[in-house]
């Protein structure tokens, strides 16, 4: 699989650092003119910009208003906010957030139980209880390297394996979690299900990681069609 990935010349995952220049996003339709940049609201990131001197570039550009779900608080994490947005249905942000908070609580409960039962000090020290860390690890473990796209050649559609960007990959991983959650048994609550699923995924197990591995298998099986990308 790794060799195959190399063949398709996919770069290593780009570390999400802050940009040297502010991100000017071009929206198809936006209240803001196109030269407005996305705000930088985390204190640490701003400090880094001041240190490196790149802040001079930022001083010349107007910035959009900060979103309603973003704060500079240490308890706010952009990936968690993104995950809440993926869980969102019919604009009920409050409900989505509550469900995710319950999920985190359940993760903590499960992990604390294990932690309190564990006697080996090494294992104990390496046990992760922080639900945000588990979420990040779970998403990282379920990120696919390729996806299949339908390419029309000679009247029929072939499923061609194609590389994807880091952003798209993260999107797929998070969406699979939510999709599996929506397919779950009605008797289990979403929070319970998600908690167990996230913990399993952080240990490279569970439905979502299996989904990713299935996708990789299919890509491997369809490697003969890879050249259809360029025909």
């Amino acid at each position: 699989m790794a060799l195959f990935a190399k063949y398709l010349r996919i770069g290593s995952t780009v570390k999400h650092g802050f940009q040297a220049f502010p991100q000017l996003t071009t929206a198809k339709y936006s209240v803001y003119p196109p030269h407005f940049a996305e705000p930088v609201y985390k204190k640490q990131e701003l400090d880094k910009l001041y240190e490196s001197g790149e802040i001079e570039n930022y001083k010349l550009i107007p910035f959009k208003a900060a979103k309603s779900n973003e704060t500079c608080s240490i308890f706010h994490d952009p990936m968690v906010a993104k995950f809440i947005n993926y869980m969102l249905l019919k604009g009920q942000k409050k409900l989505a957030r509550e469900v995710l908070e319950k999920t985190f609580e359940k993760i903590k409960k499960l992990q604390l139980e294990k932690y309190n039962r564990e006697t080996d000090p090494e294992k104990k020290a390496s046990m992760i209880i922080d639900p945000v860390v588990i979420l990040k690890k779970a998403v990282a473990n379920s990120k696919p390297l390729l996806k299949l796209t339908a390419v029309k050649r000679g009247g029929s559609f072939y499923q061609v394996p194609v590389p994807i960007t880091d952003k798209e990959s993260t999107f797929y991983a998070m969406r699979w979690f939510v999709q599996c959650g929506r397919e779950k048994d009605k008797s289990i609550s979403f929070a319970d299900f998600m908690a167990t699923e996230l913990i399993k995924a952080s240990n490279n197990d569970g439905k979502v990681v299996n989904k990713k591995l299935d996708l990789h298998k299919q890509c491997e099986a369809n490697r003969a069609y890879a050249h259809y990308r360029w025909s």
Partner: protein
């Protein structure tokens, strides 16, 4: 007219004052129908009058319009200046130091208007701002155009593009000459477009006094960006900056609201009508404070929602003023999120006065000082909602 003078830098043009034109009339062909010639240029030959009349009919109408416009503008400017002096006398101010802002204040005082649209209210501005500029005569009475690019239909605009193109080829030659001597263009001098944006289509139309299509404007942007990207573009920095304007004016953000003082000497700032969606908030921040919060008479429990509470905390946490200020806010209209956003903006806007300029800049970059103008998108006819279309049925 000044703008046109600038554009014609590269061309030698005659003066555009029309009366002189008529007096400088030179017959197109000295030999012709009647074979009558004269060495004296002041002598007018009568036969040529027929040719004169044919060519100058269209020209005369055109010139008439141009002279009419010029004399109109002169008259308006004269009236404006006289009126300005009258107004200064009425207001009891020295006419010499009567600025445009003083005029605005005076008009507002003398003619108070209840009209909603600011553009409908009475105003007194220099005629150049009120009346759109028109081009002078573009061709002489024989029909020969003055501008090289007249037959493009938009000579000023295509002159700009032409200049960009010539400059680009010159820069290429320059770069070639550098590289021949194994010198690379100086990377430190390279121009960036950070902090400035290109003139908008409207600005360019104003500059060229020509109506442009979107396609043409796009071409202009592509061309000038290409010129900017050139590593040696610093040579024509002045030319490029003619078509740039700054991205932001920080004036509104630097000018903070006035600081008032209570009887006990506590400083406070009030910001009225902070908007967010349909909510409006009046926020007062008292500076030497202890972290008390009052929203419509209640504390933080006014908001059940944790997100709303976090939004109010945001500016205070960002500036480390959580327990250093007291906040008193009244909010009306909108929903939970709107109310929270309005109060957040009010707190940020007030905190500018109690915080050093660097922190104000940080707040601006964090997006706290920008009014959120996003509103609910309207439903469109033929669609179910703002974006959602009706279910597509094949038949």
């Amino acid at each position: 007219m000044m703008a046109l003078q600038r554009l014609f830098n590269n061309l030698a043009t005659s003066k555009l004052n029309t009366p002189k034109l008529l007096s400088n009339f030179v017959p197109r062909c000295s030999y012709g129908l009647n074979n009558v010639g004269s060495d004296d240029p002041d002598v007018e030959i009568i036969e040529k009058k027929i040719v004169e009349e044919k060519t100058s009919l269209a020209m005369r109408a055109y010139l008439q319009r141009a002279t009419q416009y010029n004399s109109f503008m002169q008259q308006q400017t004269h009236e404006y200046n006289v009126g300005k002096r009258h107004l200064a006398n009425m207001m009891g101010v020295d006419p010499e130091t009567f600025t445009q802002s003083d005029i605005d204040v005076a008009i507002d005082y003398l003619f108070p208007s209840g009209l909603y649209d600011p553009k409908a209210r009475p105003l007194m501005k220099p005629p150049s701002e009120v009346f759109p500029s028109k081009k002078d005569a573009e061709f002489d009475e024989s029909g020969r155009p003055f501008h090289v690019f007249f037959y493009t239909g938009k000579p000023n605009f295509y002159l700009i593009l032409h200049n960009i193109a010539t400059k680009l080829s010159e820069l290429n030659k320059f770069e070639d000459s550098l590289r021949k001597n194994n010198i690379l263009p100086d990377p430190d001098k390279k121009l960036t477009s950070l902090g400035s944006q290109w003139l908008s289509k409207e600005d360019l139309e104003k500059l060229t006094v020509e109506k442009l299509s979107d396609h043409e404007y796009k071409n202009f942007v592509i061309a000038i960006e290409r010129l900017l990207k050139h590593p040696c573009s610093y040579k024509y920095g002045e030319f490029i900056s003619d078509y740039q304007k700054p991205m932001i004016s920080t004036k509104a953000i630097i000018e903070s609201a006035p600081v008032e003082y209570t009887k006990d000497g506590r400083a406070f700032v009030t910001v009225k009508d902070c908007p967010r969606k349909d909510a409006r908030a009046d926020v007062t921040v008292y500076y030497p404070g202890t972290g008390k919060l009052s929203i419509n008479g209640k504390g933080i429990e006014f908001f059940d929602d944790i997100q709303a509470r976090e939004q109010i905390l945001f500016p205070l946490l960002f500036t480390d003023m959580v327990d250093k200020v007291d906040i008193h806010a009244t909010v009306r209209g909108g929903g939970v999120s709107g109310k929270a956003g309005a109060i957040r903006f009010g707190i940020s806007w007030s905190l500018r006065s109690f915080v050093d300029p660097e922190t104000v800049e940080r707040m601006r970059i964090a997006g706290l000082l920008q009014k959120d103008y996003r509103r609910r998108e309207r439903k469109k006819p033929g669609q179910a909602r703002a974006r959602r279309k009706f279910t597509w049925k094949k038949r």
